[in-house]
């Protein structure tokens, strides 16, 4: 069995995982994923940047029913958290950005706007070839970081 990312170009993995964003050389806007042109100033040509791996929860919900396709889970649906996580600017890299992500927590009592979270790469499902697909998520931040 091989473990592969759900898509190329979203995150580095397996060493020191981080999300891969795009940064506009002119206005500094950060996008996720990287895209060809800047949606703010319209400049073509975004450079690749590493996004912060810790951030704060900006908004959240819990997906309570199994979505129709194109959702492709592993067949056994359990509710999952979804949120926007605000990732601060890194000194040598991109401006702050809010990234939409699955959350490892799916309990309303355990989710609060402003919570500290950290990036984690998690198993998502098996593909037709038997590979384990992994995707990105955010979990409550460890206290030691």
């Amino acid at each position: 069995m091989t473990t592969v990312p759900i898509a190329e170009g979203l995150f580095t993995w397996p060493e020191a995982p981080h999300l891969i964003g795009g940064s506009c050389p002119d206005c500094g806007t950060t996008t996720f994923p990287r895209q060809p042109a800047c949606p703010r100033c319209t400049r073509a040509g975004m450079r690749e940047v590493a996004l912060a791996t810790r951030g704060t929860l900006w908004s959240w919900t819990i997906q309570g029913f199994e979505p129709k396709p194109p959702y492709a889970g592993d067949g056994s649906f359990t509710p999952y958290g979804v949120g926007y996580v605000e990732l601060a600017a890194l000194a040598d890299s991109a401006a702050a950005v809010l990234v939409e992500s699955r959350l490892t927590v799916a309990e309303p009592e355990q989710l609060h706007i402003g919570d500290e979270l950290e990036l984690v790469i998690v198993p998502f499902r098996r593909d037709a070839d038997g590979n384990e697909l992994v995707t990105f998520a955010f979990r409550p931040a460890s206290r030691t970081a």
Binding site: S59, F65, V82, V97
Partner: protein, 381 residues
């Protein structure tokens, strides 16, 4: 009077209609609208039709008559009906045509819309991992909005209860059974903080409107309603919209605020003069946010205003008097035109048991949806 008048309105009841195609419901609405204006299909000089999922509107000429008229299909997300109306209005206001028709119809399968990543320019991973749902977006948006403006979750159930109360008074509505706030709050949580009865459902239905030069309106209608302004806008950078894998920390007003402001400016009428409004209520929270975005109150004031009954029929600004999307469902192509249909009925004084008292003079409609667009109208007697 200069400008554009609405002199014919027709609707096919909203809901689920096994055995009836969306096209049939569109043609039915057109015949009703023609009858209301006292004209025949050959009198229509141009037509604009929208449907997201139920066929090509221009093929309705096969049912209605091959008169050779120009008939344009509109496919524009949740603003499909609003866009068809925008184009019909321009066709008349420009002087190109004296009489135009806008029609919208749809027929969607049960359950939440299943959007395609590729159609929206997004990677397959976004849909596959379960992030591409309109329901999720609205939940994320109202969760943050309640937090930012200190509003309680209770008003979400209040808005839905009003929609079903109004829907019960509307013979063309789909959901006609009133639900209590307790029933709504206790329903299954689909996407926190929104329960099943706080969301509208994709549905079926059709609406048609006949537009003409305002100076010719008296030929067709005893009580014409004037389309004072139509505005349609898309999102700008910094707006928080559906299907966004990322957002900028910058926040700017959404397309609703721009479309509404432009419509009021074009009409020379302000929000304070509006007697009733139909605001996009894809879910309860959307109605709350759109009250402020359209200019009817400040962010955060909604809780007091709703508790005081402002948005009830009989309140200072009745909102979604026909039950809105919550009680009617959302056949995408027809939804925006349903709002205009309801306003015309109210301004004519023909809304029956849900009639807004005091002979309303000015009405406002607003659609909003994927992928970040809004169309607004200002109507008056």
């Amino acid at each position: 009077m200069e400008g554009v008048a609405i002199v014919g309105i027709g609707i096919h009841p909203f809901g689920r209609h096994p055995g009836l195609t969306g096209r049939y419901q569109g043609a039915y609405a057109i015949r009703k609208a023609l009858g209301d204006a006292g004209i025949g299909w050959p009198d229509v000089q141009c037509a604009f039709g929208g449907s997201a999922a139920a066929g090509n509107p221009d093929t309705l000429v096969g049912d209605l008559g091959l008169t050779g008229l120009p008939f344009v299909n509109v496919y524009n997300g949740c603003a499909t009906g609003g866009s068809a109306l925008t184009m019909a209005e321009r066709a008349v206001r420009s002087g190109d045509h004296d009489l135009a028709l806008a029609v919208g119809f749809d027929k969607h399968p049960r359950g939440a819309f299943n959007a395609s990543s590729a159609m929206s320019g997004l990677g397959d991973w976004y849909g596959e991992t379960g992030l591409m749902l309109t329901t999720q977006f609205f939940a994320l948006k109202i969760q943050r909005y309640l937090h930012d403006h200190g509003l309680s979750r209770d008003i979400l159930a209040k808005v839905a209860a009003k929609a079903f109360r109004n829907g019960a008074l509307n013979p063309n509505a789909w959901r006609r059974r009133p639900l209590t706030e307790e029933e709504i709050a206790a329903a299954p949580m689909l996407s926190h903080p929104l329960t099943q009865y706080m969301f509208c459902n994709p549905a079926e239905g059709g609406v048609a409107l006949v537009l003409c030069r305002a100076d010719q309106a008296s030929r067709y209608a005893a009580r014409p309603v004037y389309l004072r302004a139509v505005s349609f806008r898309t999102r700008r950078f910094g707006s928080f919209e559906v299907f966004s894998p990322w957002l900028s920390p910058e926040r700017v007003p959404g397309p609703t605020a721009e479309a509404a402001a432009e419509a009021f400016e074009k009409a020379g009428i302000g929000p304070a003069e509006v007697d009733l409004a139909q605001l996009q209520d894809t879910e309860s929270g959307a109605e709350i946010m759109h009250m402020a975005e359209a200019g009817f109150c400040r962010d955060g004031d909604q809780e007091v205003l709703i508790r005081d009954g402002m948005t009830e029929i009989g309140g200072r600004l009745p909102v979604n008097t026909d039950g809105g999307c919550l009680a009617n469902g959302e056949p995408v192509g027809a939804s925006g035109l349903r709002q205009v249909y309801e306003c015309v009925l109210q301004l004519r004084g023909q809304a029956g048991s849900r009639q807004v008292p005091g002979e309303p003079r000015v009405a406002f409609t607003h659609v909003y949806g994927a992928p970040g667009l809004s169309a607004c109208t200002v109507l008056s007697r």
